[in-house]
Assembly symmetry: C2
DNA sequence: TTGATAGGCAAGTTGCTACTTGCCTATTGT
DNA sequence: ACAATAGGCAAGTAGCAACTTGCCTATCAA
């Protein structure tokens, strides 16, 4: 569950892929490949990127849809929302929190 | 930088250690060892935990202070604050876009 | 001082993970 | 039909990371 999310985020290349999809959502494998090479100079094979996408998908950070011979990858940031609040105490409130007891 | 933080969070044992320090801050190595064994049944050597603590410290998630023969480990959640906002756009739009102009 | 406690350093092993290579299927354009 | 495009599957390799083992230093209590 959250385990897969942390594992997916552990790799810098996968974080770059998330960056690219944040910049432009719904890209294909080849588009992502091209962008990684062009913008970051990463020399990666197509399969390497494909495997990274698989990891991101099992983590729930990615949703894919197929149209013809194209497979589009859509970002899903839901798993990122509360992944870190586990260690952030109820103070340090800089996000809208429960309007319960505010001392 | 943020690279070290993600790498530190990738390991489930290290996340357990953060849990333990969230529950009780300022523990020593032996205390953390004892808690991991007692509460999670993890059979870890002292050095294993020590190395995990070193990783957490280089990631900035941990600050240590020495008193006599004791070394206390204090949690620092600052690196966790904005680690994930990078992909959380201000717009929460999850509507997939159209792909690039297909050549 | 002696022994017990708290921790550190370094080399070695094992298992996972990122990446490659090679071949295969499916869809589309001409 | 045929070739090009988009992607998938599976086995193999190299490097790293988690963990162990063994020995060492420092502090405190008796």
């Amino acid at each position: 569950m959250a385990d897969d999310v942390f594992k997916a985020l552990a790799d810098p290349t996968r974080r770059r892929i998330l960056d690219e999809l944040t910049d432009r959502n719904g890209q294909t494998l080849f588009e992502i490949c091209g962008r990684l090479v062009a913008k970051h100079g990463l020399g990666l094979s197509r399969q390497a990127v494909s495997q990274h996408l698989a990891v991101l998908e099992t983590a729930g950070l990615l949703v894919t849809r197929r149209e013809g011979r194209y497979k589009f990858h859509d970002l899903n940031t839901d798993p990122l929302e509360h992944i870190v609040t586990r260690w952030l105490g109820p103070k340090t409130s800089k996000a809208p929190q429960t309007p319960e007891s505010t001392p």
